[in-house]
Symmetry: C2
Subunit: 301 residues, 2 copies
């Protein structure tokens, strides 16, 4: 799994958190920047890359529905997951002191995530939103802006020759993003280590179906690590499943469920057979080794 020649597509520029996730998942990989998430999918589908990393949820921002849409519209398989703490640094060009800074630029989410800390640091500088965190560092370096600081990763500081003025400036130390790794082929699920399986299902007959579906897991003592409903009223979704390619379907609800079992286990197979009975649509996004590292490696709280 941790191949040395793997090409891994990610969204963003070098120094992006997605690149760090790629590096955590595949330590010696060649990370390939893509300007959009969909381009990262296409890179794998067209054999330009072997894997893609995709953020699917953040502990503050929630699930990224748009990226679940991409999972449903494409045929790639989840083959792993990594959880990455978001560790923001304040950075400027070498020699620039905090007092000189009149502007802080970053992705709007990153600016919001550091608001209190910036104020505590005495930085009353104007905040300005740009497209991405690493891109902010790159922009300052490229334009030699000595009055501007960026919020980005330590890796971005290193790549663009920036100096870190303050480290770990996120207001909430429990800020973690969960990424999944995608491949053209599923991996063979095993039972010799903890696996997780991600499914999406839909029904249009009221929420009693949800209860039946959950009982399929509860009665088999299978823990759920994620459950989320997503309203789909009046909205068709283009789905790829085994029987229908790109069919537009209407559902009242879609559900995302992650459960702690490998598809190699009979109880997981039986549970899914039961889910299939009640659901009008079911897709297994992947069965993959769990990321067992704790959620807050930066020291908890």
């Amino acid at each position: 799994m941790h191949g040395s020649q793997l090409r891994v597509a990610y969204q963003g520029v070098p120094g992006a958190y997605s690149e760090a996730a790629a590096g955590k998942a595949y330590p010696k990989c060649e990370a390939i920047p893509c300007d959009q998430f969909e381009v990262a999918f296409q890179a794998v589908e067209l054999w330009i890359a072997d894997r893609a990393v995709l953020p699917v949820e953040n502990s503050l921002g929630g699930s990224i529905h748009r990226n679940y849409d991409l999972l449903l519209r494409h045929r790639l398989h989840i083959v792993g997951e990594v959880q990455l703490p978001v560790h923001h640094c304040l950075m400027a060009l070498p020699g620039v002191r905090k007092e000189y800074i009149t502007r802080v630029i970053s992705h709007p989410q990153a600016l919001a995530q550091c608001e209190h800390t910036l104020t505590k640091l005495g930085l009353q500088a104007a905040r300005e939103a740009v497209d991405d965190t690493a891109g902010a560092a790159e922009y300052i370096a490229a334009n030699n802006l000595r009055d501007t600081a960026a919020i980005a990763s330590a890796r971005a500081a290193e790549l663009y020759g920036m100096q870190i003025l303050a480290d770990g400036i996120q207001d909430d130390c429990g800020n973690v993003t969960r990424f999944v790794m995608l491949a053209r082929e599923p991996i063979i699920p095993r039972t010799d280590r903890p696996f997780k399986t991600s499914i999406v299902f839909a029904h249009d007959k009221g929420t009693s179906v949800l209860f039946k579906v959950l009982s399929a897991f509860a009665f088999r003592n299978i823990n759920l690590t994620k459950i989320e409903s997503r309203p789909h009223r009046n909205r068709p979704i283009r789905l790829v499943d085994d029987a229908n390619v790109g069919t537009a379907k209407h559902f009242e609800y879609l559900f995302y469920v992650d459960f702690e079992a490998s598809m190699a286990e009979v109880r997981a197979q039986n549970a899914l057979a039961e889910v299939q009975e009640f659901a009008s649509f079911l897709r297994v996004l992947g069965s993959y080794p769990m990321d067992m590292t704790p959620w807050s490696p930066s020291g908890g709280d």
Copy 2:
């Protein structure tokens, strides 16, 4: 409920989608712009405003966990909901033609939501991210930029004297944001029209509790319109409940559930009594009239 003198706090500048939500919820209200979500909460708590409107989920972006955090950290009550289709317009100063535009500015989410349509319109102009949609229109007007277009609401175009070049340019017509309205006092739940109740609960004893909680609703034929798990491992949360003010607690999971029943109904009261038995934390965020308008008033498909 639709008072004519109500002061309603929202995050953003005039022309923001939150302002439109305030106007949909309280047609003759005085909308009060706030630069942050937390400021909108404080405005109500300090009697500067009577209500606040808060986006809690978007059909593409998912639940906004950060705003659920604010709900848990403050004592305001949900007294209503509105669903607002996100209807983006491309706008420029009067007389500016599409061919002159070298730059399109807006909130990064709005830029992403219109990417395909912009390309179809032949706009190869640079995209530039700014803090908010209405703010982009305001900025162009204030600086008389004749080479720049903004993506914002029709109302923003009107307010800042911009001309709409293209209407409804969002790629996905099912893009809807759900807002809740907040007040210092809860409303008295009724049974003469459809009500919805929002709760948050937590437990730390595995997901079998979730199954028990859902059975409390399923056996009483109470439909759920939302269920979402939120991992909280290693992460304390400051909570306000009746017994504990601002206590930091550790939970493995938090759950958000919305169900279709009024707290005036005995079945809802019984269901919650049962939930309380199994959960280690329970808070009713509010019981309020459902927004019955369809999700895609722009015509759906």
